[in-house]
């Protein structure tokens, strides 16, 4: 098993031979394999890949959060619909709850839903764009370095 030098990040350049002493059961890494020369463009590609990966992960977290808010809004509008009592609803704005008539509340919910869906759409498009970029970089880098580089999560 090759020793991977970067537990913190996604893209790993293999370090040869370090675990020979630590684990003799493994055959020593092939030393005849000459190191592929890393060019400045390769370095750029690796950097871009790393950043794209970090950004994509951030985006995915944001998408999850937005999805949850949207679901909460759906639940809220359902609950608002089945409430019998007139003027029983309060809307949370910031830290306070404000008593509002039902139609104002449902209007607010619909408006928020529209806003969130648009934001979600935007985030998804951005994430797709990043994934595409990462796939391209992955193909190029694996073609260049093969087993010497590890770009898997």
């Amino acid at each position: 098993m090759p020793f991977l030098c970067k537990p913190s990040s996604h893209c790993k350049i293999r370090i040869e031979g370090r675990n020979q002493r630590e684990n003799s059961a493994h055959p020593p890494c092939s030393l005849t394999m000459s190191e592929e020369a890393v060019s400045a463009e390769d370095q750029d590609r690796i950097n871009t890949f790393n950043k794209a990966n970090i950004h994509n992960n951030e985006l995915l977290a944001k998408i999850e959060a937005k999805k949850k808010s949207l679901q909460d809004l759906e639940d809220a509008s359902e609950e608002a619909m089945i409430t019998m009592e007139a003027d029983a609803l309060m809307l949370r704005v910031g830290e306070c709850f404000i008593r509002l008539p039902e139609d104002a509340i449902s209007e607010h919910i619909e408006c928020e839903k529209g806003r969130l869906s648009a934001e979600l759409e935007h985030l998804r498009a951005e994430s797709d764009r990043l994934r595409e970029q990462m796939d391209q970089l992955k193909a190029t880098l694996y073609a260049r370095f093969g087993q010497q580089i590890n770009l898997e999560p």
Binding site: R14, R18, I46, N47, E95, F97
Partner: protein
Amino acid sequence: MTTRHRYPRLTDAEGPKQIPKAVFIEDVEDYIGPANPLEVHRNLNELLQKYRFMEEEFGKKQRALQEKLPEIKEAITVIKFLKDRRGHDEPLETHYQLADCIYAEASVPPTETVCLWLGANVMLEYPLDDALALLEQNLNTAAASLKDLGDDLDFLRDQRTTTEVNVARVHNHMVHIKAKVLAQAQTQAQSTRAEATDGANN
């Protein structure tokens, strides 16, 4: 490599915010030159730790700012809401948080002004429109500094990745040197043994 730097340089000219830029190694052997590879490796690792530390610090700052944005946005929503209520006669019925898990009732008559907490134990009363303008300006400033911080973080990430690759390449180079020395020693031993047996046979 310039002769001016006898020791391999770790970083180049400064990037934004005085963050040093990691050098890209064209050729590892040429880069190390006459220096001790182990020492170069150690220094690069040290640099990597520094970049990691900085990245973490910037990340913390970014998270703090990211938390601030929704707060400002919420305040803006409240003020917009109050503005919409100006025409109404009846007071606004609210429950406000008195302490954790305790809410009290308050009725707010239609208002033209609102008090903004400016920090440092200062609260100032503003007309609604002015308050809105101030908060929107704050929001824009916060968004702008968040973007700046994101750019700095991206720069730092590039330097960190470059340094990580440099560490790996210097390490690989050291392994290659060791292997070469070992192979040379082996061939030498073999040839001496061959000579010895040759001598014994004759």
